[in-house]
């Protein structure tokens, strides 16, 4: 399964939830916002939302800016 995450194509051997992907990357779920195929995913749904082939996932956070 091929998922585009933050503009990068990533291959997965088995299905994975958003929560598990974030854990794997050591990302604090409170510090990010997640958009799956242009839909914002509420953090309480990370656990139950599985990534599918050809999904486009964006994981964003606040950075310094003016």
């Amino acid at each position: 399964m091929l998922v585009t995450i933050n503009g990068e194509d990533i291959n997965f051997n088995k299905s994975i939830t958003i929560e598990n992907f974030l854990k794997e990357k050591d990302i604090d779920t409170d510090a990010v916002v997640v958009e799956l195929n242009k839909q914002i995913i509420p953090s309480e749904d990370y656990k139950t939302t599985y990534l599918s082939n050809k999904d486009i996932l964006e994981i964003l956070r606040f950075v310094g800016g003016g």
């Binding site: 990357k25 916002v33 956070r61 606040f62 310094g64 800016g65 003016g66």
Partner: protein, 264 residues
């Protein structure tokens, strides 16, 4: 008499976007050599409002979370930098709100990479949509009267006209146009971008701007804490001068001392 005047200043709160602010200096979080200094800058400026941007997480580099440096009491103003159209600005605004830090959004829609000038038409479109969705919208604009009026009609919380292109530190190059907005527009005018020195901020406040947003000039100074304080003082000085009502400028001299009773 003195007491009354002092009280006027103490009561000079700034109501905007559904909040009451005790400072008219808004600050940014971009371009600091180290984000560790941000809490100190917040404290020394007394700023209530601070801007941030929204970007993709970089999985390959473990960088600091800017949020850990921002005092909890501060009002966050995420911007939509990176947006090139109204739709992109709306998308970023929704994502920013989903971060759970309130409903303020600074609209930046920019396609020009050389001068980073904002697109008024797309900005009005984005403002219209986001106000309907319950955002407090702060659009970054060229100081254009018609765009400003359209934003008032769209329900913007304030307008943020530029003094000079972002990050140039060139001061109030658009002074005359900003003065027109101050005169004609009934929502707050917050001068954003281009302010390079405290005297620039002071000049904007003297003219009747409601607030100033300063990022680069503080963040890239040699001592951001001290520069932040200097900007806070300048904003206060300009605001007080505005409230005091300025004395009339004259072409010819007008003696300050009595013109009678000279020694003969």
């Amino acid at each position: 008499m003195k007491e009354i005047k002092e009280r006027t200043i103490d009561n000079d709160l700034f109501n905007v976007g559904g909040k009451t602010l005790t400072s008219r200096l808004f600050i940014g979080t971009g371009k600091y050599a180290s984000d560790d200094i941000i809490p100190e800058v917040c404290e020394h400026t007394g700023a209530c409002v601070i801007t941030v941007a929204l970007r993709r997480v970089d999985f390959n580099s473990k960088t600091d979370n800017v949020m850990q440096h921002i005092p909890k009491h501060m009002q966050l103003m995420p911007n939509t930098s990176g947006a090139r159209t109204a739709d992109e600005a709306v998308r970023i605004a929704r994502l920013a709100r989903a971060m759970g830090c309130g409903n303020w959004i600074k609209i930046e829609v920019i396609t020009d990479n050389r001068y980073l000038l904002p697109d008024g038409y797309e900005t009005v479109k984005a403002t219209d949509i986001l106000v309907r969705e319950g955002f407090s919208v702060f659009p970054y604009i060229n100081p254009d009267l018609y765009v400003a009026r359209a934003l008032v009609n769209a329900g913007a919380s304030a307008i943020m006209p530029l003094g000079a292109p972002i990050g140039t530190n060139r001061g109030l190059r658009t002074e005359e146009m900003i003065n027109i907005l101050i005169e004609e527009i009934d929502i707050p005018v917050i001068v954003d971008a281009g302010i390079g020195k405290p005297s620039h901020a002071c000049m904007a406040m003297e003219a009747g701007a409601d607030a100033c947003l300063v990022n680069t000039a503080i963040a890239t100074s040699e001592n951001p804490t001290l520069m932040g304080k200097a900007f806070a003082d300048a904003v206060n000085a300009g605001r007080r001068a505005y409230l005091a009502g300025q004395a009339v400028a004259r072409q010819l001299a007008s003696a300050s001392s009595p013109l009678t009773g000279f020694l003969s």
